[in-house]
């Protein structure tokens, strides 16, 4: 069915300049087991001294076949796979997938479920930005940042564990709402985090933002103009660092984002430093959203009662024959989605994370495609890094905040 093609060395020679073939420049293989490539990215560098002449990102070392795997699962079962894509944004992936199914099935999600989704996604955004900040700091040699950030991230993972029993792979969001309601101490735990965290962000900023070494290392590095950024398909903080105020939560609100009051921070220079500042400010804005969502958290059900798609609560099984039938149908063959296709994008911490579903009317997806920001952003890496030093390259890779699980799916 599939044919493999032999690739000869000659076919790859166009990737590097003629100077490399003549031995004038050095080819350096960076990764996939290099500490600063954020996972298993391999970058083929062509260096003149330490100046990057060209760089060729090579992805695929973490290929999991998740898109294909999802086709073999029932619609609801496939939700489990979404967590494994971008492992720093597990709830966000689940949200994109559930929104797509809800759009296709025209399922209503109760307001409480929507608000809890927003809280968890925004907390996850903070956690993801914390991992970015920690590793970015580590790449530039500020090794303490890494440990401080992971300490705070732990608090968020504890909240996820409180809700779902799982720290990372929560699969808490299901088509039509949530797996179950959050426990009683959820609100307390989130408020405790909100009380503690602003002070921590200020501390991180005190360590880095005005640090002359950090500014030297990040300003005017990896510059991309707003126009180029749009042309390369950059989204999220990586795009907003260059100026465009494009945030899906604002331009195309989902899950009730229109009710919350928050700013979309943007940069002006499009360099590593501006992208850093955008993400730092985003953490504060995410806190604002969580605060508002928590303050106006409505009571009520957390899952749609459309029994075509959502199994009935267990208590009903003893009293209602209809409930038993729904339960049996949903847990044996799943639900059928109407024939059609849908694209549902959400604002992940990295950018526009979209899921494209194609349904043939059956209980399984015909095709699932993920439009993942890391994959798109890696295309721009050569443009960003040309003419900079190797030391800057690790900063640039950090500043576009790639997750290889997101890129290779």
């Amino acid at each position: 069915m599939y044919e493999t093609t032999e690739v000869t060395l000659d076919e790859l020679k166009h990737l590097v300049s003629n100077r490399a073939l003549e031995g004038d420049t050095v080819l350096l293989n960076m990764g996939p087991q290099h500490p600063s490539t954020h996972g298993v990215l391999r970058v083929l560098l062509e260096l003149d001294g330490e100046v990057v002449v060209n760089c060729v990102p090579d992805v695929g070392f973490l290929h999991t076949g998740i898109e294909k795997n999802m086709e073999a699962k029932l619609w609801e079962q496939a939700a489990v796979m979404t967590d494994r894509l971008d492992y720093l944004n597990t709830t966000g992936n689940g949200l994109a997938y559930c929104l797509a199914i809800e759009r296709l099935a025209e399922l209503e999600v109760p307001p409480r479920a929507q608000a809890i989704r927003v809280i968890l996604v925004e907390l996850q955004r903070i956690a993801s930005h914390l991992v970015w900040l920690g590793t970015h700091g580590l790449d530039l040699g500020a090794l303490s940042m890494f440990l401080y950030c992971f300490r705070e991230r732990e608090a968020i993972l504890d909240i996820l564990e409180l809700c779902s029993g799982q720290r990372m792979m929560a699969t808490f969001f299901r088509p039509g709402g949530l797996w179950r309601d959050v426990p009683a101490d959820f609100e307390l735990a989130v408020r405790r985090f909100l009380r503690e965290f602003p002070r921590r962000v200020d501390q991180y900023e005190a360590l880095l933002t005005k640090n002359p070494i950090f500014m030297n290392r990040t300003k005017k590095i990896g510059v991309i103009s707003a126009e180029d950024a749009l042309n390369w398909g950059l989204t999220g903080p990586t795009l907003r660092g260059s100026g465009p105020k494009y945030d899906l939560r604002k331009v195309q609100p989902y899950s009730g984002y229109e009710q919350y009051d928050f700013e979309v921070p943007t940069g002006t220079h499009g360099d590593v430093y501006d992208r850093y500042q955008v993400r730092m400010e985003e953490m504060r804005q995410s806190m604002r959203i969580v605060q508002q969502a928590l303050d106006m958290l409505p009571y009520g059900p957390v899952r749609s009662d459309d029994r075509k798609y959502v199994p009935p609560p267990r208590a009903e099984l003893g009293t209602s024959m209809e409930a038993v039938i729904h339960h049996f149908k949903l847990w044996t063959e799943g639900f059928n989605l109407p024939k059609g296709s849908v694209y549902s994008p959400v604002e992940s911490p990295r950018g526009e994370l979209g899921v494209y579903l194609e349904s043939d009317g059956g209980p399984k997806p015909l095709r699932v495609h993920w439009r993942t920001p890391s994959f798109i952003h890696l295309q721009a890496l050569p443009v960003l890094s040309r003419g900079h030093l190797v030391a800057d390259l690790v900063g640039i890779i950090g500043s576009i905040d790639i997750v290889l699980g997101d890129s290779d799916r």
Partner: protein, 348 residues
């Protein structure tokens, strides 16, 4: 040479070498513990009480590691490079006095190995040798990352060396001698008006106010000299995956590691001697044996400063270090020398 003097030298050298290597082992422990407190971690706590046996466990591990030599490496230089790096680090402290002469076994014993009249020159000369080890290690490994680490070390050396040399010049002008013993005694003499208890404070103040930028320049330049963060570009973990020692394993790696930490102790001793009064402290006259204790305390505090800086600052880029060294540190060091010359000319 009389036999007793010969034995005195052997014993003193032995104490110094053992002190430096043992100091290295426990400096790694000290750094891990201090760094872990800075980073809200616990640090080593498994081997022995409070993890005190951790350095020994590390040493045992490193000794039993397989020693790999890459087939394409230049074997002679590959083996020689760690030796070239570690020996200057060990011998550089020979001219550092630890205290006043003490009377022991019916002999006056000087608490230094050698008081040569060009002691400061000896320090600068020996300190510069170590970088050859790093460059040769980078070159002989036949690894591109190691090569870049070696090149960075070269670039780094030419950028801080001048400022460092000028930071050595200032105390020499002030003391009017290149002997480290004379430099310390001059600082002791400066503090005499305040008596035995507080004299060392006056000495410290008068000495450092005469060359206000000296200590700062020396500290920055010597941090670059020993490849400590934020100037650890030759081995930048995140950029060059360990840089010049990427191909080294086992004891050969341990030697590089050892050289780096012994150099930390050595520059702390030099900084204490040239700028912080060396072995000088309260009631030195009455109890000369306190000298080594004061020196130890000063070195301990300076080492903490080095660890603290490592836990706080991001890393420089090597071209930025060159710009920093030439455009900022070097003029500042020249200014410092001018100031100290004026002070000496006016004050006599």
């Amino acid at each position: 040479m009389e036999p007793a003097l010969f034995w005195e030298y052997i014993i003193k050298s032995g104490i110094l070498l053992l002190g430096m290597t043992g100091g290295f082992a426990y400096l790694t422990y000290y750094e891990r513990k201090a760094l872990s407190r800075l980073q809200s971690r616990i640090g080593p706590n498994r081997a022995g009480p409070w993890g005190l046996l951790q350095p020994i466990a590390d040493a045992v591990k490193l000794i039993f590691k397989e020693e790999l030599i890459p087939t394409s490496a230049n074997k002679l230089l590959f083996i020689l490079a760690p030796v070239i790096t570690v020996i200057p680090a060990l011998i550089i402290t020979a001219v550092i006095p630890w205290g006043r002469p003490i009377h022991l076994f019916g002999r006056d014993i000087n608490l230094f190995i050698a008081d040569i009249n060009v002691g400061v020159l000896y320090i600068t000369a020996v300190a510069s040798i170590a970088v050859y080890g790093i460059v040769l290690a980078g070159w002989s490994s036949n690894n591109k990352y190691a090569m870049m680490g070696g090149l960075r070390a070269t670039a780094q050396m030419v950028s801080y060396e001048l400022a460092l040399a000028l930071a050595f010049v200032a105390p020499v002008i002030l003391a009017g001698s290149m002997s480290t013993v004379d430099i310390v005694e001059k600082q002791v003499a400066m503090g005499e008006p305040w008596g035995a208890a507080f004299g060392f404070i006056l000495g410290l103040l008068r000495w450092n106010l005469s060359m206000p930028l000296g200590f700062l320049i020396f500290f920055i330049a010597s941090t670059a000299e020993i490849n400590r963060s934020p100037f650890d570009m030759p081995e930048a973990e995140q950029e060059l995956t360990a840089g010049y020692h990427v191909e080294y394993s086992g004891m050969k790696f341990a030697l590089f590691f050892m050289a780096e930490y012994i150099k930390m102790i050595a520059v702390s001793m030099i900084a204490a001697t040239l700028y912080l009064g060396g072995y000088n402290g309260p009631w030195m006259e009455q109890l000369p044996i306190l000298g080594p204790v004061y020196l130890f305390v000063k070195v301990f505090l300076l080492l903490f400063l080095l660890i603290w800086v490592r836990g706080t600052l991001p890393r420089f880029r090597y071209d930025q270090l060159m710009a920093f060294g030439w455009k900022f540190l070097f003029p500042l060091a020249l200014l410092n020398v001018v100031i100290v010359s004026i002070v000496v000319a006016l004050g006599g």
